[in-house]
Assembly symmetry: C2
DNA sequence: TTGTACGCGTTATCAA
DNA sequence: TTGATAACGCGTACAA
């Protein structure tokens, strides 16, 4: 087992100084061709590679991005990671992943861990618990220490940083308008409690679309799910709530759900109640998930372009990292809005 | 914007030496209580945290694990990551993620990138292209440099390292036996080409189960898909192949598929051909995916316990990293076999 | 053309 | 009880 070779070892072997080796390897004009050849050959033979950690320490730059997400077993987030990775890699960065697991304290601990020199900047999406507690001090502290943050999807306006979001409002409007245009008269909304920013915006889009079409939103058609429960586990509870909704409002002929699970559950319940999709009931979900495509019937969705979000976030962050930030120049923050796309499948006419 | 504070700055402020500060913060008995209090108060005030990079350089230990996987937008792999993250975090490690995207060269580049000091060891699953080319030099070189590797799921026997695998053979046997016991007489197998080790083993399990039940495997019932195509894109091609299989063998009453997509496609085609599941046809898939649970009908699966695999892999790696490896002690490699579990849903009787 | 010295931030050892 | 020094591995300004 031959350990990784260092400049010092090469220098000793060839009986020259460390700096000579260093310069020779970087092809400096200061060094004679003879020495360069000798050193380079030796380095190649022993497969010399500079130690990243030493470089990071010296340059005060790790070329590593930290990404903190609430959950990785989730198509949306893993697609975002893929986007980040893609851009990061081509631009010479590595990606270190931290999971908050929707917990405030884990988010804080993870960020503190990484902020102590391990990375150059963060890309993150806020955990539910943090959103609920509205405690954002760790984000501000991190930025105060000169470490940039790019937030995506779950963002809050209280924090001044670069952001990448989907056009939740417009996406929802498009979806609900589609339902209206397809003839739905009584459209239900299945959404989350309002502290989830995207849930709130998507709810707003639903309202706007109805208003645009001179339809009156009815509160009994709006089901706000408390998603602090993990519904992958408590699926029954979710389905029960939806069933109650349908039973109390037999005239429902359209459903807009703010995520995939809600939409699929709605379809499942509808099937159980003997409704035909899309003839009796049309359904659209806001999601980038895989379930939609393979569902029966396949689900019409509002696509969020998760991978693109990741790419944009990575570009935003790296741009900031590499922009020689002129001292007293006012810092500027960007918000990139990703357009949604309505993907029509079999759950709508 | 206050940059992160260092020992040196604290020392200067308090007019003591750097080493005094360092010792005071670690509560050394060498330092007077007075000084300790002073230093610790100051450090707390300015929220001092040791710089990870400097520590890594000094200790030649990064406390970071590198994980290289072929694809992140895939439930199996993201669950494995979750398992790795969980264990790594509780044991004081970070996780850095590299994606090979099923490409040999990306796998090599990613590993070289990380092997230069960024991490202490690898957890990885081999890319398809690497498996096809059977070029494993990068794994051996990495290990020769003293960097341990733990492989999971897609492994090869040629390489000597710790491994975590599922019991593919037994899992497949259980599945196919189940079909036989449920009355299937003519069971088709939808699998991959043999260079994918798990595909090969699962095929073997199918054979074994049939033999155990005195049934004769028929080659015309075995469909080997060339999965170098991305079937998420070329879904039609996949479904066509399966349709041919069904049409050429009308007596098929059971299907065992080595992954989720194949199983779902089989169900879709069957539905199209007017077959009722599970009455005319029973289907089982080898997978840990989400699609199964939400499919119509829901799919009976052989579960791989992906998260547990990740946890075991992380424990294996960290154990090795932290075991004071006695010089001439023979190095020992473990292979952990994870048991599968048959999860019965609606696609079987 | 080559080598010395320094600094990145930390800790351990040894001297004062 | 405190401080100076060396070391981790690297690159660079400056001296020889």
């Amino acid at each position: 087992m031959k350990r990784k070779i260092t400049l010092k070892q090469i220098a000793r072997e060839l009986d020259v100084s460390i700096s000579t080796v260093s310069k020779a390897l970087r092809n400096s004009v200061e060094i004679s061709d003879d020495t360069k050849q000798k050193v380079q050959a030796f380095a190649k033979l022993y497969n010399y590679r500079p130690n990243n950690i030493a470089l990071s320490l010296k340059n005060r730059k790790t070329n590593t991005i930290g990404i903190i997400i609430p959950e990785i077993v989730h198509h949306f987030f893993s697609k975002v990671i893929r986007g980040v990775e893609l851009v990061a890699n081509t631009r010479g960065y590595n990606v270190i992943v931290g999971l908050s697991n929707e917990s405030f304290s884990k988010e804080v601990i993870n960020m503190e861990m990484l902020a102590n020199g391990s990375i150059d900047g963060f890309i993150l999406s806020i955990s539910k618990e943090t959103l609920q507690q509205q405690d954002y001090h760790h984000f501000n502290e991190t930025m105060n220490q000169g470490m940039p943050i790019v937030m995506f999807d779950r963002v809050v306006s209280d924090i001044n940083c670069d952001k990448v979001i989907v056009d939740d409002l417009d996406g929802s409007k498009k979806a609900v308008s589609k339902l209206v245009e397809n003839g739905c008269k009584s459209i239900a909304l299945i959404t989350t409690k309002d502290y989830v920013s995207v849930g709130k915006l998507r709810t707003q889009g639903y309202m706007d679309a109805l208003n645009d079409h001179k339809l009156i939103p009815k509160s009994e058609l709006i089901l706000k799910i408390d998603d602090s429960l993990d519904y992958e586990v408590h699926l029954d509870a979710l389905e029960n709530e939806i069933e109650q909704l349908f039973k109390a409002n037999k005239n429902i002929d359209g459903v807009f759900a703010v995520n995939e699970l809600y939409a699929l559950s709605a379809m499942k319940v509808a099937r159980k109640l003997g409704l035909d999709i899309p003839n009796d009931l049309q359904v659209i979900g806001f999601t980038d998930g895989v379930l939609s495509k393979h569902a029966t019937p396949s689900l019409t969705t509002v696509s969020q372009h998760a991978q693109k979000m990741g790419e944009q976030a990575a570009n935003l962050l790296i741009d900031k990292l590499e922009k020689g930030l002129n001292e007293d120049e006012e810092e500027h923050f960007n918000t990139i809005v990703i357009n949604t796309e309505l993907i029509e499948r079999a759950s709508t006419k």
